[in-house]
Amino acid sequence: MIQMDYKSSKPIYEQIIEQMKFNVMKKYLSPGDAIPSVRKLALELKITPGTVAKAYQELERQGVIETIRGKGTFIASELDIKQDDSKIQAIKKRISTEILELKMMGYDKKQTVELVKNIFDEI
């Protein structure tokens, strides 16, 4: 379900968050699906339970998953992923550095928008 890239400099808990969201967006995981407990996922991915717990807390805060006491952890039944302003600002910053790179290679506005459109549809 989740593949780690241990060589990546991106923190492991961020990788978990990202991949869990990707699975939801791709509909590989649907609302109400049970996901592994913190300890199970830690054992499977060979990482500490604390790292998984950190990722799950963030996913829960963002409304992607929910924990039902005594039952387990699930993809949220009513998925409503909140738009977080500070997050959007951070993403904007990341996108602009990438676009700058395209621009330097000679991409015009139309080509860039086309590229973004394609990526959007792929996800």
């Binding site: 241990y6 060589k7 400099s9 492991i12 407990s37 300890r39 199970k40 830690a42 054992l43 060979k46 990482i47 500490t48 339970p49 604390g50 790292t51 950190k54």
Partner: protein, 296 residues
Amino acid sequence: MLEIKDLRKGYNKTKVIKGVNLSVEKGEIHGLIGENSAGKTTLIKCAVGVYKPDEGEVLYDGKPIYDNPTIKEKVGYVADSNEYIGLYTVSRMVDMYEDFYPKFSREKFNEYNEIFKLDVKKRIHSLSKGQKMRLAFMLETSKQPEYLILDEPTSGLDPIAKAKFYELLINEVEHNDIGVLISSHNLEGLERICDSVTMLHKGVVDRQMSMDDMKCELTQLNVVFEGGANKKVYDMPEILRITNVGSIYTLIVRDYDEDFASKLKANGASLVEPLDISLEELFVVLGENNLRNNEE
């Protein structure tokens, strides 16, 4: 909660445990690591009430365990080597446990034995080391304890049994909210299950913290110094170990942050890439470092 308070224990004149504090909450897995003869087994034997502490106390939910059968019923203990009555068959041993422990569940034992597959008609003296370990784990968890104290429980287990053991253990913790104290040299396994960890060194606590904080203490870095690293780099006090293949250097550093990356770059590093360090490697590097500091 299991609380070990200022525990001291020695044999004759040799002091083995020299003032250890440790606590384990229910639902928590606490790892106990340390080199050979650091005092792990002595500490554990005090923790389960086999040994009487010379000083200090061992409390479970506020009550001492030594000479206290009601508390001992609530505590499962898998020793580093488990000798039962050799002439008994496995099933007779199960009968005995059932007589001794009111909460013992035969269903649970049978359920576990579906996985660990011991022949219950076999006599215990004919079991191998790994099979005795399986038996001990099954008997002690079938007592339905509130706490499990495990001394090197994976030694002698084959890789398949080891994987099953970890899976069953985390199920116990998650479903029954038991507290676990586990000592092991299998650090790769501990890393994946422990919430917190105590590093014992010559009878005292060297480090005690959450597993994540422990792992943050040291960082492994891949660094490229084109044309080689200069002497200043070798002298940096933050670096505990430095090795290289050509111009690619592998550094192990204490408390890594962005500032340190800049410092390396100022000294000619063209690439600084932090990598996760395994508990095993961390333990080895800290051990080497202790040794070096002792010599100085």
